[in-house]
Structure formats: structure tokens, C-alpha cells
């Protein structure tokens, strides 16, 4: 059974990755958008675009205000992400439409389980990331610079056209890290929304509040990778910090956008029951018990090759701990045919959405409710519902008390 799981996982990774096959698929998809220009990957200047979030500093330096790193970038240098560059005192993104991956994926692959099940998401990525996770499954794009990957130039309006042509209700900004190709995701999502195509980001959540709130004006869903629940893990394994991610999750909860959480459990590093319980309780108290949480199986890769794949028992334990802590929709990910892939009605316990691999049966979900007992299941179940989403405005600060 485990061997079967491992094989399937590899196949899954190959499909989800951004290697040569993905690029072939990308070209096929790009053909849908007449007039798309194909770049050779060595000329990122073709996709240079003004960056949206930065401050000018003396001596032509800039401070990037997109993510919590707030890189101070001297002229000719790039930020930590490797895709944003100071050109003469102006900050530029080098990956505006410079896509290294484009695929038509089941939405379940993101994974988003409570968002338009059985539909597809036109999924795209550029090079770059604002973290350096030593276990990154997509490091061959996320840890590369734009000139180091082969890319296609697909402007935002063309991406929307591809989604419509392919009858995909959703565009997914994914695989690497959409925060670093923010401007492209932002503009494509805005155009898509006007043309009936929703947008989701699959993100590490490492983004500052103003940028996140602006982006969410155009998004219809979010998935956040919560890497762990300790600062130690974030620092040592991701070269980042935990608190900004938790802050972003609170912002998402405040905005009210549909959000799902994925936690990749890595043996010995973040898989203790105590850590899972602490994380689950935090999620219940800050995001509510209905936020879907996926515990995913780790496979050795990149700089973490000395640890085994996550035992299924560990995933099962994490799921139980999280549900005992009050979370209602907890899933086991990256393990096909696992019963933890299904959505169960929290009231009657019946299977509402059955998933086998990427085959999804929603026959027991009626108008967003359990067909057996009528209990409402939280999620985005229709495209109309997705496109109707409007983020809640940030509550104005309370006025200072008058003396």
C-alpha cells in the first residue's frame, strides 16, 4: 500500500511540477491565446513592469513593502525573491506575465476542497519565492531566477482568455509563490473578475497587510501553506518567521475570503501532536472551526533528503488531534484513496463529497448542504457565489477616548 502511495505521489509531483512536460503543456495552452509571444527565458526584460509596493530611499535605493522581509535594495540589485530589481531607483518586477508553468489542473489539486469541486483551475507560476523552504517540492522554479527558467510571455488579458476558452472558472496563481508575482496576479485577477473568471492564490502567506487587502479585492479564494507552528521551524527550514504568516491569516479571516490551510507534515520537524494541537486551537480561535485544513504528506526533496516520507499514521494522528481541537473539516493530503480525503457532514457523519484521487463525487452535496441531514457545509459551491465575494472593509481604528 505504501509503495503504491509513493509511486502515485511521484506521478503527482511530476504532473504538478514545472519541468519540461509542464512547459509543453504550457505551450499547448498558450496556443489558445493568439498573439502570445514566446520568450526564451533569458530575456526577462520582456516582462519588466513597475512594481506596486515599494518606497524610495536615498542614493537610488528602494525598500520593498510587499512582504515582511522589507528588503532594502540598492540600484542594480534584486530583492530576496530574485524577481524584483532596482533599476535606476525604480523598483521593477521582472516576471509580469513571464510564466514558467501553466497547466489546467483539477481544483482539488491545489488543494481546495471547499471551492467549486470538480472544476478546473488554470494554474500558472513564475520563477521566484520570498522564502527558501529546504523541503520545497517545486524548488526548480521557486528557487530560481527568471533568467534561469524557460518561460512564456502571457499578458494578463490573454491568461483570462485562455481560462475562458478552456471553460475554466478559476485561475490559480500557484506552484512557486504568487506574492512575488503580485502585480501579474493582481491585474489578471481584476480582469478575470470582470469577465466571469475567479482567481485563487496558493501562497505561503508571507505578505504585508496592505498588499494582501488590495489583492483580495480581486480574488475569490486563498490557500495558505502554514509550514509549521513554531518560530524555530520557520527560521531554520524556511528562512522566514511565523508571526507574519499568522498575521496574514487573521487578515484573511477579517476580510472574509474563502481560505483553506495546508500543513505539510515533515517527520521530526513539525509533526508532533503537541504542535498540531496548538496550531489547531489557534486556527479555531482565529479563523473559526469551519476553515478546511489539509495535513499533507512530505516526500524527500531539495535540501531535505535525509528524512523519510511522512508515515500515514502520523497524518491520521494529526487529523484526529485537529478535529479533537475543534476543527470540523480536516483532510489528509497527498495520500490517494485515503478516507481522510472525503468531506464528512459534521452533524450526521455521512460522506458529503467523496474524493478518489482527483475524481470527485458531489452527489451528496445539495445546494451547499448535506443531502442527508441538510446541514450547511461552508465553502464556495457556485461560480456566482465566488464572483459575488466582496472583502469586508477594514474596521476603522477606534477614536481616542476624549478626556
Amino acid at each position: 500500500m505504501n509503495a503504491k502511495h509513493a509511486t502515485t505521489r511521484r506521478e503527482f509531483l511530476r504532473a504538478a511540477g514545472a519541468g519540461a512536460c509542464a512547459l509543453c503543456a504550457a505551450r499547448a495552452l498558450a496556443e489558445d491565446a493568439a498573439g502570445d509571444r514566446v520568450t526564451d527565458g533569458a530575456r526577462p526584460q520582456a516582462a519588466v513592469h513597475d512594481a506596486m509596493w515599494f518606497e524610495r530611499l536615498p542614493d537610488k535605493a528602494v525598500r520593498c513593502t510587499l512582504c515582511p522581509r522589507e528588503c532594502v535594495v540598492a540600484e542594480v540589485e534584486r530583492g530576496y525573491c530574485g524577481v524584483r530589481e532596482n533599476q535606476g531607483g525604480d523598483y521593477k518586477t521582472l516576471v509580469y506575465g513571464n510564466l514558467c508553468s501553466i497547466n489546467l489542473d483539477p481544483i482539488e489539486k491545489k488543494p481546495l476542497y471547499h471551492y467549486l469541486p470538480t472544476t478546473t483551475a488554470l494554474s500558472v507560476a513564475t520563477a521566484g519565492c520570498n522564502m527558501e523552504c529546504k523541503f520545497c517540492q517545486n524548488w526548480r522554479i521557486s528557487q530560481y531566477r527568471p533568467e534561469q527558467v524557460e518561460s512564456l510571455l502571457i499578458p494578463p488579458e490573454n491568461l483570462v482568455r485562455i481560462a475562458r476558452t478552456r471553460r475554466s472558472p478559476t485561475m490559480a496563481f500557484t506552484y512557486s509563490e504568487p506574492v512575488v508575482f503580485y502585480e501579474y496576479a493582481h491585474d489578471a485577477a481584476a480582469i478575470g473578475r470582470k469577465q466571469g473568471v475567479g482567481s485563487v492564490i496558493i501562497s505561503n502567506g508571507y505578505i504585508r497587510e496592505p498588499a494582501l487587502r488590495e489583492l483580495c479585492k480581486h480574488l475569490t479564494g486563498v490557500k495558505v501553506d502554514l509550514k509549521a507552528f513554531t518560530e524555530k521551524f520557520y527560521v531554520e527550514q524556511c528562512a522566514a518567521h511565523l508571526k507574519p504568516v499568522l498575521d496574514a491569516l487573521e487578515v484573511l479571516a477579517d476580510i472574509g475570503i474563502h481560505t483553506e490551510i495546508v500543513v505539510l507534515l515533515i517527520p521530526t520537524l513539525n509533526d508532533s501532536a503537541a504542535e498540531t494541537e496548538k496550531m489547531a486551537k489557534w486556527l479555531v480561535s482565529h479563523m473559526g472551526p469551519d476553515v478546511p485544513v489539509h495535513f499533507s504528506r512530505f516526500h524527500p526533496t531539495y535540501r531535505v533528503k535525509n528524512l523519510p516520507p511522512t508515515p500515514i499514521a502520523t497524518l491520521d494522528r494529526a487529523r484526529k488531534v485537529a478535529m479533537d481541537a475543534g476543527l470540523r473539516y480536516v483532510y489528509v493530503g497527498n495520500v490517494p484513496f485515503h478516507e481522510g480525503s472525503n468531506t464528512y457532514c459534521p452533524k450526521c457523519g455521512k460522506v458529503v463529497i467523496k474524493r478518489v484521487g482527483y475524481k470527485t463525487d458531489v452527489s451528496q452535496l445539495r445546494d451547499g448542504a448535506c443531502a442527508s441531514c441538510g446541514t450547511k457545509i461552508p465553502g464556495v459551491w457556485t461560480q456566482e457565489q465566488a464572483l459575488a465575494f466582496k472583502p469586508k472593509e477594514k474596521a476603522p481604528p477606534k477614536p481616542a477616548a476624549q478626556s
Partner: protein, 354 residues
């Protein structure tokens, strides 16, 4: 003779005349390296200098000329003199022979980001090693991007009987954009390394430029190798420390690095790494060493002295202390303590920065 002869599978990817335009067009056609896969031969016998951390600073008015700068021939003469002073040999060829062998494949890493290493300095080094029978076609002058080399004034060349010159991005793409298939780990860093180093060199020289850096304090011999890894953007936190040291301690770099040359003809003491003419001055020097840490310590002192002379604060007072030198010493890469460095000054005194 090693199995890495120039008549192996190294393919022509650019006709000489079309080299610049082809590389500028994106290098998609690629350059196939010899891919000999051999380990670098053991370094020649160490120089008999009593102190490995001897650093030669040679200064001459000819190095401080403006415009096109010094000729490679003049630089070569001065470089030979510096080499003799570094080893104590009477003949320059004997000095060069301590570091390189005729069968070596020498990769000369230059820095073309912002203020670049002058081509005349780099070409002088390539000529100098020719004196020991290392043919020019076995010398590769390189950086990350061919485009940056061209902008810096280098003539791109992928084949022929002259010194080769191209960026890592010009290499044939094998899924890694010119970088090694394996991730090399060293301390806090984990990187792919240019295949110009891993597949096509048995010896390395750092032909760096002495200039200010807004985070690390200085860019010199060691930081030059940020251009050898695929992800330098990940390693600028904390003033690039310990990342510069860790990158230089990567095995393919550490095992091959034989010589540290720093272009101090017109150093820049503030505003780097971008070019800022108002903060450059005609120091007219070259720094030569086998100890990259000592070379950078000397370079750092020169910049600090100049900053003090014009009323600027030391790097540390600008919240960018030069931390990576101590980290490099802790990794056994060389000597960071100036008191243990023997500076041989030829021409004007090395700390006379007026």
C-alpha cells in the same frame, strides 16, 4: 594532459563574429561544455612564502588613467611584478607556475554587476598564465550573464584559439540553466553552482573589483562568487554574513580557487554596488594574493581609509559592518586579522589614499 582537452565535445555555439549578438539574443542555442567530470588536480606545490596570508598591493600611475584605462600589456607587467613579490620568485613565470599548470582549465570569475572588473585587468591575467604554457583557449572569463559581460566591455567568445568569454546563461540548458544538477550545501547556503566551475574548470581565479556594497560593506574577491551560484538573492540578509563565507566554502569553489586578484585601479568607496563616479578615485592599484580573506581585508582597509579621509563614517557606523571576513576565517578560508597579514606594498604606500 587530462581528459578535458579542448578537442572534445565542446561545440561551437557562436561563430566568433556573431558571438555578441547571439548571446544577446538569449543564448538559447547554448554552449556545450567539455563535461569532463574530473576532479581538479591537486594544486601545485604551495608557494614558499613564509606567510600564506601575504598580500601584494602594487600601485602605479599607469593603472590610474581615465578613459579606456591601462593597456593589458602594462597591467601584465605590473601583475608579473606582483606575482614575483607574492612568491619571492625571480621570474614571473615561476610564480605563475606555482598556481597553475599548462593542462589546467582556468575559469576567471569577474564581477560585472554595477561597477565591473576592468577587461584590461582580466586579460592581463589571462596573458600572464600563458607564460607557463596554459593556452588562451583553456582560459574562460565568465560571470552570470553574457549581457552583463558585454555591457562591461568584454568581447564575448565561445570558441576559437583565444580566451573564451561568456556568461553561465550562455550554456546549453539542461534543465538547470547552466548550473549544476546537484545542490551543493555549505553552512547556511544551498546552491547550484555554475557548470563553468563544476564541469569546465580545474582551477579558479577571482578577478574582482574593489568597491563598496550597501549591505556587506565591501564587494571584493569573495563576494564575487555570489555570481557563481544560482540563488545569490537568498543570501543578502545580515550583511551577507555568513553567506559570503559559506558560498566561498562550497567545495567546487574552495577546491579550485588558486588566486585572488582585485582590481583597485579606480575603486569605489561609497554607493555600491552600482556605479557612482562621484565616489570613485584613482587609487591605481592591484591586489594579488592566494588568500582570498586576506585580500579582502586589505581591500576593506583601503576603502575604510578613503572613507575616513573624505569624512565618511566607517561601514560599522552605517549599520553595515564587514562581518563576513571573520566568518570566512572561522571556516578556514584565510586570514581576516590584519595584524597577521603581511602586506607587501609596491609603489605608493598602500594606505596612502589621498
Amino acid at each position: 594532459m587530462t581528459g578535458c582537452g579542448g578537442n572534445m565535445t565542446r561545440r561551437t555555439f557562436l561563430a566568433r563574429a556573431a558571438a555578441a549578438s547571439a548571446v544577446a539574443a538569449g543564448a538559447a542555442s547554448g554552449l556545450q561544455l567539455a563535461s569532463c567530470g574530473e576532479s581538479p588536480p591537486p594544486a601545485p606545490a604551495p608557494a614558499p612564502a613564509p606567510n600564506r596570508s601575504r598580500v601584494v598591493v602594487i600601485r602605479h600611475d599607469a593603472l590610474a588613467t581615465e578613459g579606456r584605462g591601462p593597456t593589458p600589456e602594462r597591467v601584465r607587467e605590473l601583475l608579473d611584478e606582483a606575482a614575483r613579490a607574492l612568491t619571492g620568485d625571480a621570474k614571473a613565470a615561476d610564480a605563475w607556475a606555482r598556481w597553475f599548470k599548462p593542462q589546467d582549465r582556468l575559469a576567471v570569475k569577474v564581477n560585472c554587476l554595477g561597477l565591473p572588473t576592468k577587461p584590461a585587468v582580466t586579460l592581463a591575467l589571462a596573458e600572464a598564465v600563458g607564460a607557463i604554457g596554459l593556452p588562451p583557449e583553456r582560459v574562460t572569463v565568465w560571470d552570470r550573464l553574457s549581457r552583463e559581460l558585454r555591457v562591461a566591455g568584454y568581447t564575448l567568445r565561445g570558441t576559437g584559439d583565444d580566451v573564451r568569454c561568456f556568461g553561465t546563461d550562455a550554456l546549453e540548458r539542461r534543465g538547470n540553466g547552466g548550473y549544476s544538477a546537484d545542490v551543493y550545501t555549505s553552512g547556511a547556503t544551498g546552491s547550484l553552482i555554475s557548470r563553468i566551475v563544476t564541469d569546465d574548470s580545474t582551477a579558479l581565479a577571482s578577478a574582482a573589483i574593489l568597491k563598496d556594497h550597501n549591505l556587506a560593506g565591501i564587494t571584493g574577491v569573495m563576494k564575487n562568487f555570489f555570481g557563481a551560484i544560482h540563488n545569490p538573492n537568498k543570501y543578502h540578509d545580515n550583511g551577507c554574513d555568513p553567506f559570503i563565507a559559506d558560498a566561498c566554502a562550497q567545495k567546487p569553489i574552495r577546491d579550485r580557487l588558486r588566486l585572488a586578484l582585485c582590481d583597485a585601479t579606480w575603486p569605489q568607496y561609497n554607493g555600491g554596488p552600482a556605479t557612482r563616479r562621484q565616489w570613485q578615485w584613482p587609487y591605481g592599484g592591484l591586489i594579488l594574493a592566494t588568500d582570498p580573506v586576506a585580500a579582502d581585508r586589505v581591500g576593506c582597509e583601503i576603502l575604510q581609509r578613503k572613507r575616513g579621509a573624505v569624512g565618511m563614517k566607517p561601514f560599522a557606523d552605517e549599520k553595515r559592518p564587514v562581518r563576513h571576513l571573520a566568518s570566512a576565517e572561522a571556516r578556514g578560508l584565510g586570514t581576516a586579522n590584519l595584524e597577521r597579514i603581511e602586506v607587501v606594498s609596491i609603489g605608493r604606500p598602500w594606505l596612502d589614499v589621498g
